[in-house]
């Protein structure tokens, strides 16, 4: 009998160059994305060793983490950011790496541009010095974040030393309720499994609820698999995947139909075993929001903050930081900011969702907002569809693309003590600026909350 394998096993095994010891594989990397923050030390590392980039055409660069989201045609004001962005330009030129830097029509957040350019494809191994590399798993690739020493390893050899993770299945079946997005699905899974629930695992998401998601939704889901502690998450490619890739800039040349036949093999065999499996019913999932300081601390929008014991030090610390109370509803809590954007929710579908709520309404005067497209292409598409004008009429502004207030490395920061309903991926203390209080939610919820000036169930505007 033929051995049954999971999707993950199939892709992993195809990339093993060598077995190093009982734990470590030498793994071949098909695509390597880099950005300005985690690459400079890796470039100087190989230069010190006197070696060059082994396969420069398999590395793709962009500037995203540090970049301002207005006046991108001007020189970057902040000196340290400018030095990093300039250094990236210099390093890419020196090592013959293609750079989609500021001013390039393909510039944008690394995990948005890879897929939209068709660079990300099923069955590949993809790495980047950024934890949200897991996003690319939506295409049935093994994609994961790495540190700078590992960036240097990929430069030097196009390989990494990796222990094979365990395999986890997260299967979600059933129809998605109105007002529920992929963001709500992953926040729900996080609330059930916790932010450490998948340490040591690589996740495969499956089930009818996943199959019904668009590529954008699947990317949101896989993007936040890292927040479960997993190395990454992946979804078997299907017609939705193939249709998305077809005709994109770097989609496979030649016989695309032949390629699809190959990609169709990339699925978990009937009866293949996982090390751990979780099953959820989509009809249990409602719009979600986080109340605490890690993405696992989420509740239904209509729910109450848990009433945990005072002795739970971590929980108490989180609530103190957020200045929220146990056993209270979160709906109606006043907010100061919204952030719509990031590699989690900065794609065109996310802006369309926000526009759906915002159209014909005005934002609450007490709320400030950052609406930031994930890439120049997303920005252009939004303008083409008139979404920028919908935002403008409501009192918002569509900014230029970048990571922005997700991690507040540029000027886009949430002030200390302010509450921000954010479509990004992390609500850690200080993530959006020192003292900032982040509530993670979908673009629908962020937009609805901006209109009312307090945390709002988006279904109020959808029905």
């Amino acid at each position: 009998m033929m051995q049954t394998k999971t999707l993950f096993d199939k892709v992993w095994e195809k990339h093993i160059v060598d077995q190093i010891d009982d734990k470590l594989n030498m793994l071949y990397i098909d695509r390597h994305f880099i950005h300005e923050v985690t690459s400079p030390q890796a470039f100087s590392g190989i230069e010190k060793r006197g070696i060059s980039v082994f396969r420069p055409k398999q590395t793709i660069a962009t500037a995203d983490h540090n970049v301002p989201t207005e006046n991108q045609h001007l020189e970057i004001k902040e000196e340290l950011s400018r030095i990093q962005v300039d250094k990236l330009k210099e390093n890419c030129a020196k090592h013959s790496i293609d750079l989609y830097g500021l001013g390039n029509p393909y510039n944008g957040i690394v995990h948005v541009i890879g897929p939209e350019l068709g660079i990300t494809q099923p069955g590949m191994t993809i790495v980047c010095g950024d934890s949200h590399t897991s996003t690319h798993g939506a295409f049935g690739s093994i994609a994961f974040g790495i540190g700078t020493s590992e960036v240097e390893m990929v430069f030097a050899s196009q390989c990494l030393m990796q222990a094979k993770p365990k395999r986890m299945l997260i299967q979600i079946d059933g129809e998605q309720k109105v007002g529920v997005t992929a963001k709500d699905i992953i926040l729900y899974v996080l609330s059930r499994l916790t932010s450490a629930g998948a340490i040591g695992y690589f996740i495969e998401f499956a089930g009818s609820a996943i199959e019904n998601l668009s590529m954008e939704g699947r990317m949101t889901l896989c993007n936040m698999s890292i927040e479960l502690g997993a190395r990454g998450g992946m979804i078997a490619p299907d017609q939705t995947t193939f249709d998305y890739i077809k005709n994109r800039q770097f989609a496979p040349n030649g016989d695309f139909e032949q390629k699809i036949l190959e990609w169709k093999q990339l699925k978990t065999d009937e009866g293949a075993e996982f090390d751990s499996s979780h099953f959820f019913d989509s009809t249990d999932i409602e719009p979600m929001i986080t109340y605490g300081t890690n993405p696992g601390m989420g509740i239904k929008l209509t729910g109450k903050i848990p009433n945990k014991n005072e002795k739970d030090k971590y929980f108490t610390k989180a609530l103190n930081y957020m200045n929220l109370e146990r056993n209270k509803s979160i709906l109606g809590h006043p907010i100061d900011y919204i952030f719509i954007g990031s590699c989690t929710n900065g794609r065109i579908e996310d802006l369309r969702d926000a526009a759906k709520i915002i159209k014909g309404r005005k934002k609450n005067p007490n709320v400030k907002g950052y609406i930031v497209p994930g890439s120049k292409q997303v920005e252009e598409q939004a303008i083409k569809e008139g979404i920028d004008l919908i935002f403008k009429d409501a009192g918002f502004e569509l900014r230029q693309s970048g990571c922005s207030a997700c991690l507040a490395m540029n000027e886009d920061k949430i002030p200390s003590g302010a509450y921000c309903v954010s479509t990004s991926n992390r609500n850690f203390e200080g993530r959006q600026g020192p003292g900032a209080r982040t509530l993670l939610a979908s673009p629908l919820t962020a937009a609805a909350s901006a209109i009312n000036g307090y945390i709002t169930d988006p279904r109020e505007f959808l029905i």
């Binding site: 470590l24 100087s44 030097a156 390989c159 030393m161 991690l407 992390r426 200080g430 993530r431 020192p434």
Partner: protein, 197 residues
């Protein structure tokens, strides 16, 4: 690039009994704007260590002049979040050589091992014992022996073993990194590339 060899560490401990310490706490994103690897230790746990006027926050463990050491003992799921190796650099730059926890985020663990910082996973009761003993007597000495893969509480003679890949162990013991190894393998890599074409 080689790093300092790590064979045995005998040191007092710095306790950090907090779960889910994320890399944004270890080194906030606004301090990542460097193109060098050094100097991150000054901003280790920046926002827990200093207030907004840059005054030390009393009560945070790194501001207690009585507490120091090369071994950080932390709550579960240490190093979660961002892949920034800067977190491992900051801990190393501060002078810490070993981090003990019940579990580490995968990327942090790899980053640490790649720079000569040893992440050790031990059972929860062992961590609890260290925190309890520390609460009673502030000076607690641990011995970490990498060759024997063992951690010992010197004050009580309690020992526990730990797991590490034999390859990584060898790298740490000899202060060599993966790239030294990988660049010797380029023939094998090219052969692999031919095979997939």
């Amino acid at each position: 690039m080689s790093f300092e060899k790590l064979t045995q560490i005998i040191s007092t401990v710095i306790p950090l009994p907090i779960d889910n310490v994320d890399t944004d706490q270890i080194i906030p994103a606004r301090f990542l704007k460097s193109i060098n690897r050094e100097g991150f230790g000054d901003n280790l746990f920046r926002d827990w260590r200093y207030d907004t006027s840059n005054e030390p926050i009393m009560g945070f463990v790194l501001n207690d002049s009585q507490i120091n050491g090369k071994i950080l003992v932390a709550g579960r799921n240490f190093g979660c979040g961002s892949s920034r190796e800067h977190a491992a650099w900051a801990i190393y730059d501060y002078g810490i050589r070993v981090v003990l926890s019940t579990s580490f985020a995968d990327i942090f663990k790899n980053n640490a091992l790649n720079i000569g910082l040893l992440p050790i996973e031990v059972p929860e009761n062992f961590i609890e014992k260290i925190f309890d003993l520390f609460a009673v007597k502030k000076k607690l000495n641990l011995k970490v022996n990498l060759q024997e893969q063992q951690v010992e509480i010197i004050n009580t003679d309690e020992k526990v073993g730990f797991d590490i890949s034999s390859y990584k162990k060898n790298c740490l013991l000899n202060g060599i990194d993966d790239i030294d190894y990988l660049v010797l393998k380029t023939d094998r890599i090219e052969e692999f590339e031919q095979g997939i074409k």
